[in-house]
């Protein structure tokens, strides 16, 4: 999960460089609705992974909360991509008993370690599953960045779609596309006369 935090920080830093302080202020003041749904979805999922017997039910509840948040904010750019990414990841996880299947070859290339099939990887959502043992294996963790960057992470298609959506939403938020008439700080509001 560290790579996702770094990705978010990187995207915000790019936005800050491009739009400056105004971009950060727009991000802070952006009206996302029912944010409690996103926070609850995250909390519920973490609880589920802490108590394995409830993992499947908590993952379903988490998916519902997250997708409900996306629906409530569907008019914002990027939200459809975010919802699609979440849906892809949740679909493959629910199809595999609430774990994300990770391709053994991709894991070997990333970590340099051969991991026995069916191993649950500590501190992650992943279980090592060969393609013939996983449902919807093509939606699982199997994508690597090129060259030495392959050691950073193993991604799923859903992860890629989700990050594209977050990037689009951040651009939309920091550029002020939702309300181009808002003025921040000392900037003057254009006269309507």
């Amino acid at each position: 999960m560290v790579i996702l935090s770094l990705t978010l920080v990187g995207l915000i830093a790019c936005g800050a460089l491009w739009f400056g302080r105004v971009g950060l202020l727009r991000l802070a003041r952006f009206p996302l609705h029912n944010s409690i749904l996103a926070a609850s979805g995250c909390a519920v999922q973490m609880l589920g992974f802490s108590f394995p017997p409830s993992r499947f039910a908590m993952l379903v509840l988490s998916a519902v909360l997250l997708l409900l948040f996306c629906w409530q904010n569907r008019r914002h750019a990027g939200m459809a991509l975010i919802a699609s990414g979440i849906a892809l990841n949740m679909t493959v996880m629910l199809a595999n008993g609430a774990v994300m299947p990770i391709n053994p070859a991709a894991l070997r290339q990333m970590s340099g370690v051969d991991v026995p099939a069916y191993t649950l990887i500590d501190g992650s959502k992943d279980q090592v599953l060969p393609d013939d043992a996983a449902n919807l294996a093509w939606l699982g963790d199997r994508l690597l960045l090129p060259g030495p960057l392959s050691a950073l992470a193993v991604w799923s298609i859903g992860d890629v779609v989700l990050i594209l959506g977050i990037g689009r939403l951040l651009w939309y938020m920091m550029r002020g596309e939702h309300d181009d008439n808002l003025a921040y700080g000392s900037a003057a509001t254009p006269s309507r006369t």
Binding site: M1, V2, I3, L4, S5, L8, I12, L24, L25, L27, A28, R29, F30, L32, S35, A38, A39, G41, C42, Q45, L66, F69, I82, G85, I86, N89, M90, M93, M100, I102, L107, M110, S111, V113, D114, V115, P116, T119, L120, I121, D122, G123, S124, K125, D126, D141, A151, L152, A153, V154, S156, G158, D159, L162, I163, I166, L169, L170, M173, G185
Partner: protein, 44 residues
């Protein structure tokens, strides 16, 4: 921008980043370099 407005803006910024972080953390599922140490795994 006075101090109170600044504090409010920082708080709102933290909340906004937290929401985006929640979406990424709960919606995403990559396995990353932080998981490279795998105590339950015996290298061949």
């Amino acid at each position: 921008m006075n101090r109170r407005t600044l504090v409010q803006s920082v708080a709102k910024f933290v909340v906004a980043v937290g929401i985006l972080g929640s979406l990424l953390t709960a919606g995403g599922a990559p396995l990353d370099f932080a998981n490279r140490v795998l105590p339950s795994v015996q290298p061949k």
